[in-house]
C-alpha cells in the first residue's frame, strides 16, 4: 500500500512536466460550455415581424405573444409528435374531447431546444390566427413533452459535456504523459523496474481518474452557477462517470504507448473525445435521433453514461435504456480496455527488443 501511495504521489507530481496540457484538458470543456451557453442563451432576438407594416403581420405578432413564443425568425417546420403523412402533410386527428369533435395536432414541447421551440411556437401562433378565423371549429393545440421532465437545452448541453470533460482530461493527460515518457527516455525507469506493472498502471489510472473527476466537478459547478440547476446527487453523477473515465484513461494510455510521441497521442485523445461527445448524445439524447444514429450512439460509452445521469438529475425519472444492460456494456468496455492496457504495456515497455 505504501508503494502504491508513493507511485500515486509521483504520478501527481508529473503535473509539473506538462502544466499546459493539464490546464487545457481540465479547463477546456468548462470554457467551451461557458462560451457556448452565452452564445446559445439569447432570451429574445429580433424578429422580422417585430414592427409589422401589415395587418397580417400585426396579427401574427399578437398571436406569437399569445402563445408565449420567444420572438425569433420565421421558422416554418413544426416538430410533430406524429409522423408526417407520406405527402409530408401534417396530420391532424379529429378526436372527441368532452363530447366535442376536436381537430388535434400534437407538437413536441421542445423547450430543450431553443430553435425547435421557436419554430413550434411560431407555427402554433399561425394556428391561433387560423383558429380565430375558424371560431368554434378551431384546432386544439397541445404540447406533449418528449421527456417526463423537459430539460432546458443549456442544462442538457452542459450535462452532456460533463462526460466530455471527464473523458478529455483522462485521455489527453494519460496519452500525453505516457508518450512523454518515451520521448524523454524516462520510460527506461519503467522498463528496468522490479515493481509489478499492474501496480504501476493502477497508480497511473487512479491519478487520471481523480484528475478527470476534478475536471467534471469544475464543469458541474459552472453549470450549476450558470443555470441554477443542481443535481440531487453529485456522488451519483461521479459514480456514473467512473466507467467512462476508466475507459478514457485506458484509451489515453494505449494511444501514448502505441504512438510513443506526444503530439499524435494528444491528437488521438482529442479526436476521440470529441467524436465520442458528438456521437454520444452530446446534442440530444440518442432516442431523439434516427434509429441508425441511435444504434451507433448507444455503442459509444458517453450515451449510456448520459442516459444514466439524467434520471438521477431529473428527479429520479427514467428516460434511459435498461440500466442492467447499460452497466454490463460499460463493465465490458472497462474490463476489455484494462486487459488491453496491460497487454500493450507488456508488449511496448516490458518486452525485450527483438
Amino acid at each position: 500500500m505504501k508503494r502504491y501511495i508513493l507511485l500515486l504521489r509521483s504520478e501527481f507530481k508529473l503535473f509539473l512536466t506538462a502544466p499546459v496540457v493539464h490546464l487545457i484538458a481540465i479547463v477546456q470543456p468548462t470554457l467551451m460550455y461557458v462560451l457556448m451557453s452565452i452564445i446559445m442563451v439569447v432570451p429574445t432576438f429580433e424578429m422580422r415581424l417585430m414592427n409589422p407594416t401589415t395587418k397580417q403581420g400585426e396579427n401574427l405578432l399578437a398571436a406569437a405573444e399569445q402563445v408565449g413564443s420567444p420572438i425569433g425568425p420565421d421558422y416554418i417546420e413544426p416538430v410533430l409528435v406524429e409522423d408526417a403523412s407520406p405527402g409530408h402533410r401534417q396530420v391532424v386527428q379529429v378526436v372527441e374531447i368532452d363530447g366535442t369533435p376536436t381537430a388535434l395536432q400534437r407538437y413536441g414541447y421542445i423547450d430543450s431546444n431553443l430553435v425547435k421551440n421557436l419554430r413550434n411556437r411560431l407555427t402554433a401562433a399561425l394556428m391561433v390566427l387560423w383558429n380565430n378565423e375558424l371560431g368554434s371549429q378551431g384546432i386544439l393545440i397541445q404540447e406533449h413533452p418528449w421527456l417526463p421532465q423537459d430539460i432546458p437545452y443549456t442544462v442538457y448541453f452542459g450535462m452532456a459535456m460533463i462526460p466530455l470533460a471527464g473523458y478529455l482530461a483522462a485521455a489527453m493527460i494519460g496519452s500525453y504523459l505516457m508518450a512523454q515518457e518515451f520521448e524523454n527516455g524516462t520510460i527506461l525507469s519503467y522498463k528496468l523496474c522490479p515493481t509489478s506493472f499492474r501496480l504501476i498502471l493502477a497508480a497511473k489510472i487512479t491519478r487520471l481518474v481523480v484528475t478527470s473527476l476534478a475536471a467534471a466537478i469544475i464543469l458541474y459547478i459552472t453549470l450549476g452557477l450558470i443555470t441554477g440547476v443542481w443535481s440531487t446527487s453529485l456522488i451519483a453523477i461521479l459514480v456514473i462517470l467512473l466507467p467512462l473515465i476508466l475507459i478514457a484513461s485506458c484509451i489515453g494510455l494505449i494511444a501514448g504507448m502505441l504512438t510513443r510521441s506526444a503530439l499524435p497521442s494528444f491528437l488521438i485523445a482529442l479526436a476521440s473525445a470529441f467524436a465520442f461527445w458528438l456521437l454520444g448524445s452530446g446534442f440530444g439524447l440518442a432516442a431523439g435521433f434516427s434509429p441508425l444514429f441511435e444504434i451507433i450512439s448507444r455503442l459509444i460509452p458517453n450515451t449510456p453514461v448520459i442516459e444514466m445521469m439524467f434520471p438521477y438529475f431529473y428527479f429520479g425519472k427514467k428516460v434511459a435504456a435498461q440500466p442492467l444492460l447499460v452497466n454490463l456494456q460499460l463493465t465490458a468496455y472497462v474490463l476489455g480496455l484494462l486487459i488491453a492496457v496491460g497487454f500493450i504495456y507488456k508488449k511496448r515497455i516490458l518486452s525485450k527488443e527483438r
Binding site: N184, L188, K352
Partner: protein, 312 residues
C-alpha cells in the same frame, strides 16, 4: 558463497538487420570492481549494456548477472542492478528529491529507510543544497551526479554507467570519478562504457576494448599497456631529421611519423634504458630541442590492435 563474477557474458551476438552490432563477445566482470567497455562511438558498448540488462535480446550466447539468467530472471536481477544511461533520463521539471522519490516508488524494496538514504546520497553527490531545485536548472555534471545517486538509491550490487562523463566539464568529471571510486570501496561493482582513454585508465580495474562489436583486448589497463613492450618517443630537433629510418637503425623502432616539420614520433622498445644512447645518436648532427618518452596509452593499445587511433 557468492561466485567470483557478477556478470558473465558468453559468446553473445546481436544483429540489427545485416549489421552485427555485437559479435561473439565474451567477458566476465568480477564482483566489487570497476569494469570498462572501451571503444570508439558505434563500437557496440551501449548495445552490450542493453544486452546485459535484457533490454535487447541476444541472437546468440548467454548472459548471467549475479548468477541469474537475464532472459528468465530479469525482474529479480532488476532488484539488484542500477543503470545510468547515456542520455540522463531524469524528469527535468521535477526537483532532484522528487526524481529520487519517483525512483524509490519503482525500485526500492525497503521503503522504511528511503528518506535517510536519499539524504545520504544527495550529500554524497553534493546535491543536498539543490535538492528542491528543478533538474532543468542543473549543469551536465550535476545531472550525471543525480543520475548516479538515483541509480544507487535502491542499494544495487551492480551499477551500469554508460559514458559517465559525457558532456561533463573537467571539475564535474573528477567529482564523478571520485564518487564511482568511493562506491567501489564499499563493494559495489561498476560496469562503465567509455571512449575516454583517461577515464578508462583512471577508473577501470579491468576492461575490454571493443571495436565493431568484437572484443579485441581484455585485461587490466596496466597489463594491456605493458604487453605493448614499446614506449612512445616524441622529439623536436633543428634542423629536421631527413632520414629517420637510417638514423635510428640501431634501435628497435616502429610506427615512425612526422607530426610536424621538425618533430618526430615513434615507438621504441626499451626506450627507458637506452635514453642516453638515443640522445647521443640524435645530437651528433642535430640540435635536440625536446624529447618526451611516454609509456604507451590505451590509445596506443587500440592503435596496435586496429591500426587506427581510438579518437579517429
Amino acid at each position: 558463497m557468492a561466485k567470483k563474477y557478477a556478470i558473465e557474458v558468453k559468446t553473445v551476438t546481436r544483429k540489427f538487420g545485416s549489421l552485427i552490432a555485437v559479435d561473439d563477445l565474451s567477458f566476465s566482470v568480477e564482483r566489487g570492481g570497476i569494469f570498462g567497455l572501451l571503444g570508439p562511438n558505434g563500437a557496440g558498448k551501449t548495445t552490450t549494456i542493453n544486452l546485459i540488462l535484457g533490454l535487447l535480446k541476444a541472437h546468440q550466447g548467454s548472459i548471467q548477472v549475479l548468477e541469474m539468467d537475464i532472459n528468465s530472471q530479469s525482474r529479480q536481477i532488476y532488484n539488484k542492478v542500477g543503470y545510468v544511461p547515456q542520455e540522463t533520463n531524469l524528469y527535468l521539471d521535477l526537483s532532484a528529491i522528487d526524481n529520487l522519490w519517483h525512483h524509490a516508488a519503482l525500485y526500492c524494496q525497503d521503503l522504511s529507510d528511503v528518506k535517510n538514504r536519499m539524504e545520504e546520497l544527495l550529500n554524497f553527490t553534493n546535491l543536498w543544497q539543490r535538492r528542491k531545485d528543478p533538474v532543468r536548472t542543473f549543469s551536465g555534471g550535476m545531472k550525471r551526479r543525480l543520475a548516479l545517486a538515483r541509480a544507487l538509491l535502491h542499494d544495487p550490487e551492480v551499477i551500469f554507467f554508460d559514458e559517465p562523463t559525457l558532456g561533463v566539464d573537467v571539475q564535474g568529471r573528477f567529482a564523478l570519478w571520485e564518487h564511482i571510486q568511493q562506491q567501489r570501496e564499499v563493494g559495489k561493482t561498476f560496469v562503465i562504457s567509455t571512449n575516454n582513454m583517461v577515464e578508462a585508465d583512471t577508473l577501470c580495474d579491468r576492461l575490454v576494448i571493443i571495436d565493431h562489436g568484437r572484443a579485441i583486448a581484455l585485461d587490466t589497463p596496466e597489463n594491456m599497456k605493458s604487453a605493448m613492450k614499446y614506449d612512445v618517443v616524441s622529439i623536436h630537433t633543428s634542423p629536421a631529421i631527413t632520414n629517420p629510418e637510417a638514423l635510428l637503425s640501431d634501435y628497435k623502432v616502429r610506427h615512425l611519423t612526422q607530426p610536424e616539420p621538425n618533430g618526430l614520433r615513434f615507438e621504441m622498445q626499451g626506450a627507458d634504458t637506452r635514453t642516453t644512447d638515443l640522445i647521443n645518436t640524435i645530437t651528433t648532427d642535430h640540435e635536440l630541442n625536446s624529447i618526451l618518452i611516454a609509456r604507451p596509452s590505451l590509445d596506443d593499445v587500440f592503435l596496435f590492435h586496429t591500426g587506427r587511433a581510438l579518437r579517429e
